[in-house]
Symmetry: C2
Subunit: 356 residues, 2 copies
Amino acid sequence: MRTHKRPRMIDVAHLAGVSPATVSLVINNRLSGNVRIPPETQRRVLAAVQELGYVADPVAQSLAGTRNRLLGVFTFEAIFPVQFRDFYYPFLVGVERAAEECNFDLVLFTSTTAGDGKRRIYRGGANRLRLADGAVLLGADEDKLELQRLVEEPYPFVFIGRRELPNARLSYTAADYSAATCEVTEHLFALGHQHVAYLGASNITESLADRRSGYRQAYSRRELALNPAWIWLQGATDLAAVLGAWLKQGVTAIVTENAPFAATLVQTCHDLGIFLPADLSLAFLGDLFLDLPWDLKATSFAIPRQEMGATAVRLLAELLAQGDAAAVRQVTLPCRFVPGNSCVAPRSDPPNYIST
Amino acid sequence: MRTHKRPRMIDVAHLAGVSPATVSLVINNRLSGNVRIPPETQRRVLAAVQELGYVADPVAQSLAGTRNRLLGVFTFEAIFPVQFRDFYYPFLVGVERAAEECNFDLVLFTSTTAGDGKRRIYRGGANRLRLADGAVLLGADEDKLELQRLVEEPYPFVFIGRRELPNARLSYTAADYSAATCEVTEHLFALGHQHVAYLGASNITESLADRRSGYRQAYSRRELALNPAWIWLQGATDLAAVLGAWLKQGVTAIVTENAPFAATLVQTCHDLGIFLPADLSLAFLGDLFLDLPWDLKATSFAIPRQEMGATAVRLLAELLAQGDAAAVRQVTLPCRFVPGNSCVAPRSDPPNYIST
DNA sequence: CTGAAAGCGCTTACAG
DNA sequence: CTGAAAGCGCTTACAG
């Protein structure tokens, strides 16, 4: 039972002495081409809007099939995560700023949480995001099946982060992890390291694949042979054992993937009595939220998170303006190399490690 | 031009050989009271739903169902501030969680930014928040005139943080800064301090007023006279001078308001060669985002930020359910005393300070 | 230039 | 028990 406290378009129309259609036209500035409404009428309409405090109901606008200047923000996990707060926040800052620029409000889909705590775009079969004109998606753990379904319908969205599907292209703003990883690895080569190992997580995502290809690229640019044993993805084997073997084989530097992983690495080095960075140089692939011991500052790269968020919104705004829901835009932004002191030149006189 | 790829209710109705109304009733389980649909019909409808992969369009549902289940989140500054990120974030976490519970989506009003960079509830006379069923407001620097206007219209909202208006009551979820400050101050008395001074900001807000009254309350509970000179609000006089005077007069402990301010205090102590906490105990009024030197851990209290956010949303949900836009709810949540080591017993043998 | 009408996809009284 | 109809608040051809 809606109490009609909120003024509706019909009220505005009455007050202004025109029809709802005219109100709609004036409000939405659809005064192009063959539609011409005299300034005086427009003024009356606007005055009525003013007087009543009228704001169009976005739900009705949406149903009627036009734009409601609402941009969705969808994450498969909580949008305000507690665990990776520091990582995600800058994306949101960027999203907000760009939305402000483009005059969009943001709708956060929190009601899409399924029974299992995970969020779903499709509830049963309906695309919940349709409440908004378009949406920005972000976060890990995306459900590829849902994404696949989303690209198949004419609904504009942009993913923050590169995401690929088997048989479809989708819009995204990515960070150039490949180039950044290549740069970091080359930095190690330039310092004089010959054998640079790679420590990664056991899973594979687009952004991890990019890092790994950047690592390989650095090797091929230097025309160095890459010993497959120097790539180790977290698995059955013990990290300490791998580390011991690497050192014996002459590995003097490691590039490592994510922060939780990096913490384990640093701890293991400590346990094995390996001095950082004197015995072993460490480079980190992306923003690190980890306090390193011994005044170590991570050599790494910075992900342009705020820009990625802002760019995603701007792309979406373009897609909407262009009105072609099938259009695909992909933008890759550079990362910034962050020099630290966790990478130094290798020892001229390497210690003789005992295997563990 | 919406393409009808998605099955609509009418399609289900056709397939099941019933009317849309029946489909709606079955799907929404509105089979109470005088509505009775034979199991066989229900089965047919459900089978059709299944076969077509039908799910109701939420947009149409909201439009038909009177409410749009959108809750606004409004701040007069950016909702994702860069400066006070750590302070505001937990409120948002609480808001999101409660919204999820209550099945509301959230709309962040970023489009309300005026030319001057500040956000406004009213744009040209229109309440922009009306887009949502109700709204949660938070943040400092609220515009009292806009708030005044908002309470005057029948629009349900809840402020996160106590806010008062001259001639109206509004709904909020507050933290009990008064009790918490009283507790912290009494803690100092219990440690043996006789003269506890108060250092505050120059402005006055509801939450600062609460702290100040808590401080006074602690004195009156102990039946101690409060020397007016021991309350100092940031102003013309130099902090160092005030501090020097206090110490000479036997002040051995200070409670201090906000973090930026607290930083100045700590620095000044350092400059004057005052050892913390041996020479001077320091208590902090609320969550402190400041690294204290010398392994000092702040004695302070924790603001129940997440709970405040969640409670605000739940209150709002209640107000909406109750349908009385004029109803006012005010909830005050307790803060948690945080024992640190920045408060210790006063020296039995106080140093003889030289005035600066 | 502007109004009347149809339609977006659903729900809810109201009849039968 | 179930259908026909009206309505939610808007937009968009289509007439005039």
